[in-house]
Structure formats: C-alpha cells, structure tokens
C-alpha cells in the first residue's frame, strides 16, 4: 500500500439514494471505508445491502448522491479501476465444462497488464487453488462440483486479480458451519497478508461480529449504526431488563440500574416476587428487534427504535 492511500478513504459514500419506481430503497446512505479495513454491511433482507454494494461495484446506477471508490466514480470507472477491485459472485451453473485450473488461468490473465512490482497480478493459479482448498479438484470439471466447492471457486475468482478492494455480497449464504469457519479464516488472511480492503454484506450479526473491524447497520434506507462490534455491543447493553411475576401476573421493566431497582422491588413486595429474571440487553436483542420490525413492514420505525437503543 502506498502512502497517499492511507490518508484517503478507499470508499466514500455521501447521501447515496436509490429509488426503484415509487419505492425508495436508499434514502441517504453515508459511510467511509479506510484502507485495509474489513467493513461489514449488516441489515435485514431487503434493506438495500445488495443495492448498495452493486452501486459500489459499478454494476448499478444510483439515483443520487456521491460515491467514490478507489478515487473513482464506479459508474464511470475505467478498466484500470476494475483491475484493482475484486467481486465475489455467486455462480450456479456457469462454465460447467471448464476446470478450476483452466478457468483461473483464463480469468487471471486479464489482470496481467495491471500488475506492478509491489502488487504482481494475477495471483498464480497454484497458490490460489491452495488458498481456497481446491488443489485436489483442480482438473475436475466444474459441473461435478458441490455447492460448497463452487463457492470456494467463486472466492478464488474474486481474488485472482489480487484486488486492493474486495466486495463480497452474502458470501456465506448456504455454507455449512465448517465451510463458514474456513471462509472466515480466509477473509482474515486476505486482510492481514494481502492488505486487501474488504467490504462485505451479511444479514447475520454473528458473522459481522466475527469478521469485521467495523459494522455498518443498514435499515430504513440509511445507516443506523456505524462502529466496531464491541462498541455497538457496549452501547446496546446499557439498558437492563428485569422480569418478575407477582400474584400470577407478569411484569417487565427496563432500567439502567438494575441493582437499585431489584432492591426496591424486594423491599416493597418481599416473598411475593417470583420468577425474578435480570437480563442485560445485548446487541443481538436490539438487532433481532430491528429485523423483526423490518420484516413486518415497519422499516422506518425499526430504524428509529434501533437508533434510540444504540
């Protein structure tokens, strides 16, 4: 990485808007991604994550707002820009008659004119096959691959050009737990060893917490939270929920000082208090509430409520 790239953000999005017909999908998205960061765009299905990432990839025209990726506007980006970005696409039946080795040789070839001394392109096919664990299948027809094997090949094709910036849209959808862990390992490796900036989307909070240096939560067409997973968790955990029952009736109370509240409660009612439960709210609770409200159609309210909690 070069000096000037440490200062300038790799991705800069200001007031990004997207409208399909009469529907506003993005209503003013702002965020930046710095060089070498792993940033996760988290949000319920249908929140506009894919739309956002496709605009950044240069595959979709935005309605309004300014977007700069690696110093260029993706909607008018050059092939030189293309060479510095990688996109992990989800294939399903393309190139059935090719073998991974031949396909990676072919796809990687296009990057050769864009290699530099500090970042030679493409990544040698052997190395790539090893990284994604397809060495043993290198000469098998792709049509014989299982879903998981295909996805590993997708990743290999996304990184064959040794990108400065890698886009991953729901990369682990359909992975089994083992494949998911291997994939997480691979993302860390890319970020650490290859100095690749990574922007990925997921609807899975757990995945965002595991992978990302920073989590952006997209809801109601805008970014409702932008911080490290740890700090988001701390912020969500300020409120504590106290539940109990008395005379067969259930009670719930949210408070910031649970100890004092429980003291008062027991002083007042003593043994009449049953089934006492004190639970610190987690980021997961807040996020699940957001997803639930989003799915019942109240995406604006969901976003509002979430901002209040976090």
């Amino acid at each position: 990485m070069r000096e000037n790239e440490h200062s300038a953000p790799v991705v800069e999005v200001r007031d990004l808007r997207m409208r399909y017909g009469a529907t506003d999908v993005l209503t003013g998205v702002d965020f930046t991604v710095g060089a070498g960061e792993v940033v996760c765009l988290l949000g319920p299905n249908g929140a506009g994550k894919t739309t956002t990432i496709e605009i950044l990839e240069g595959f979709r025209q935005r309605s309004a707002g300014s977007v700069s990726v690696l110093g260029e506007d993706p909607s008018r980006a050059t092939e030189g820009w293309r060479a510095r970005t990688g996109v992990v696409l989800q294939s399903w039946r393309d190139h059935p008659r090719w073998t991974p080795r031949r396909l990676l040789d072919q796809m990687g070839g296009y990057y050769a004119p864009y290699g530099t001394a500090e970042r030679p392109r493409p990544t040698p096919t052997e190395e790539l096959l090893d990284v994604v664990g397809l060495t043993d299948l290198a000469d098998q027809k792709i049509s014989t691959f299982s879903g998981g094997q295909r996805r590993r090949l997708d990743v290999a094709m996304g990184i064959v050009g040794r990108p400065d910036l890698l886009f991953l849209d729901e990369p682990t959808a359909g992975f089994d737990p083992q494949a998911r862990r291997e994939f997480h390992h691979l993302v860390h490796r890319l970020a650490d060893l290859e100095d690749t900036t990574i922007l990925l989307t997921t609807h899975d909070l757990d995945e965002a917490e595991k992978l990302a240096d920073r989590v952006l939560i997209l809801a109601g067409g805008r970014i409702v939270a932008d911080d490290t997973a740890e700090r988001l968790a701390l912020r969500a955990a300020i409120e504590v929920e106290v539940k109990w029952s008395r005379d067969g009736e259930r009670f719930v109370h949210a408070t910031q000082d649970a100890t004092a509240f429980v003291h008062r409660l027991l002083d007042e009612h003593g043994a009449a208090v049953e089934d006492l439960e004190v639970r610190r709210a987690s980021l997961e609770d807040a996020y699940l509430a957001l997803v639930q409200r989003h799915e019942s159609g109240q995406s604006d309210e969901a976003a509002q409520a979430f901002t209040e909690v976090i």
């Binding site: 000037n4 894919t50 739309t51 496709e54 990839e57 595959f59 979709r60 110093g71 092939e79 030189g80 293309r82 060479a83 510095r84 990688g86 996109v87 696409l89 989800q90 294939s91 399903w92 039946r93 393309d94 190139h95 008659r97 090719w98 031949r102 072919q106 796809m107 070839g109 296009y110 990057y111 050769a112 004119p113 864009y114 530099t116 094709m157 050009g161 849209d169």
Partner: protein
C-alpha cells in the same frame, strides 16, 4: 497513482482479445468432447442425410440432376444459418442468466475477451456441423460437386454467411428476456424462414410476396450461394432470374454483415451494462421455479 495505471491503452485490449481467442478455442474443444454437442451434430446430420437418402431417386424438374445434388447444398446453407443464429442466441441468453457474462464484466476488459471467445467458438462450430453432413453425403451420393473449384465458393459463402448470421444470433440472445424465450424469438422465426427460403423445395414454387420476404434474409442467399458452389452452371436455370446472382448474394450477405457489425456492439454494450448480481440471482430464482 500514475505508476499503478497500465502503460499503453491499446495493449490491454489486444491482450484481452488474445485471451478471448484462447477462451473460444478452449470452449470449442470442450464442445467437441461433449457428448451433448456430438449428439446434436450427429442428429442434425442424420436428419439431413436421411432425408436426402429417402429421396435419392427423385429427379429435379428443369434439370438433369437428382434431388440430393440440389438439396444438399441448400440444406447445408440452411443448417449453417440455423446453427449460427440459434447457437449464439442460446449461449448468450444462458450466460446472461448464469453469471458467465457478469464474471467477464468483473475483470478488466473481460467483455472484450468474452465476445472474442464467442466469435471463435461459434465460427468454429461450422466445421463439425458441415463435416458431419458432407462426409456421409459424399459416401452415399454421386455427382454432388460439379467442379472442384466450387470448394472455393463454399469457403467464401461460408465466411460471408457467418458474418451475416452470427451477429443476428447475438442480437437475439442479447434482446430475449430469458432462455425460455429463445424458442419463441429465435427458433420459431428461423424455422419459418427455413420453410420459405428454398431449402427443401424451390423458392419459385411460392407466392411472389413470400419470395420477396425470403430474399430479405440471409438464409436464402446462403442456400443459393451453396447451390452455386456445388451445382453445374446449367442448374441455375431453375433459380429466380435463371442465374446464381452472385453479385446480389455478396451484396445482401455483405449488407447484413455491415449492418449488424454496427448494431451488435451497441446492443451488447447495453445488455452488459444491465448485468448485475441481483439480476443473476433473480434468473436463478426464476429457473428453479420453472423446473418445478
């Protein structure tokens, strides 16, 4: 920034064209090895040669030739036109849906390579298709090639026909909304055209306006060009105007080639611009439901 940019602007494009040619050749070899494609070539050849064999003793009115002599070049022209329209149309419609095209779009100058590959693949596919028909025909029938110099005409008619028809296939592939629609917008019109282009019976047997329609499209001229290559000069008597109309053949096929060379890049660029991951995902969704 400057040091990272590729040096000259022309060379990465040429580089991509070279990769595309290699890509097309690899896909052609894969196609030759695929039982699916072998079956297609053999099946069409079997139908064509079978038809000629059944009618081997039928004389052609107005000439002293037997039907196979006249029908073989016509069928050959029809088959080439059919393969060069339907092949690329299906390939493109399919590869729009399955993400092949999107992959090409995601690499620098990948689309240049992709389309160079398509040209090589579909052009080369003429070879197995014609060989599969010609070899058994020459073994079974006599008097097919009136004069060996006709092979030269076969070559240029094929090249010109290729340039005229292959872009039509690409246009159809670029315009159809999905693979299932290629039948309606590709297969059906080509079949209809085959019916009126003098492939199976002389065009002069049809009404005047149908003849006019047929002569607007390349298929008739491909058939005519092929007949002019295989048949003796005297056989021209049964054609429109009693001539092989070589100048007109070159003009019509050439006009299609030039016109589509102008239109197709625009169409393909427009189509490629619309490609995105969610489009591929939607097609995938639609396909799974279609199969159910």
């Amino acid at each position: 920034m400057a040091s990272r940019q590729p040096a000259p602007t022309g060379s990465p494009v040429l580089h991509a064209v070279r990769l595309g040619l290699a890509r097309g050749w690899a896909e052609f070899v894969q196609s030759l090895r695929s039982s699916q494609d072998q079956w297609f070539y053999l099946f069409t050849a079997f139908l064509a040669v079978g038809y000629l064999y059944l009618r081997r003793d039928t004389p052609v009115e107005g000439t002293d030739l037997m039907l196979p002599s006249v029908a073989l070049p016509s069928i050959l022209g029809g088959l080439v036109a059919f393969g060069l329209v339907i092949g690329p149309a299906y390939a493109l419609a399919m590869e729009k849906e399955d993400g092949t095209l999107l992959r090409a779009k995601a690499v620098p100058h990948g689309l240049v390579g992709y389309f160079a590959g398509q040209l090589v693949l579909h052009s080369s596919s003429i070879v197995p298709q014609t060989v599969a028909v010609l070899v058994p025909s020459f073994l079974l029938f006599d008097g097919l090639m009136a004069d060996p110099s006709g092979w030269f005409t076969v070559a240029w008619v094929l090249v010109l026909g290729l340039l005229a028809t292959l872009p039509i296939g690409m246009m159809i592939g670029a315009l159809v909304p999905g693979v299932q629609k290629v039948g309606m917008w590709g297969m059906l019109p080509v079949m209809l055209l085959a019916g009126i282009s003098g492939i199976f019976y002389p065009i002069t047997a049809l009404w005047g306006w149908v003849q006019v329609v047929a002569q607007l499209f390349p298929m008739y001229w491909l058939g005519l060009g092929m007949r002019s290559a295989f048949l003796p000069e005297s056989a021209a008597a049964i054609e429109i105007g009693g001539s092989w109309r070589t100048v007109e053949t070159v003009a019509v096929l050439g006009a299609w080639a030039v016109a589509s060379a102008l239109v197709v890049p625009v169409l393909l660029r427009r189509m490629a611009r619309r490609q995105s991951g969610s489009q591929v995902a939607a097609a995938r969704e639609a396909a799974t439901q279609w199969v159910k």
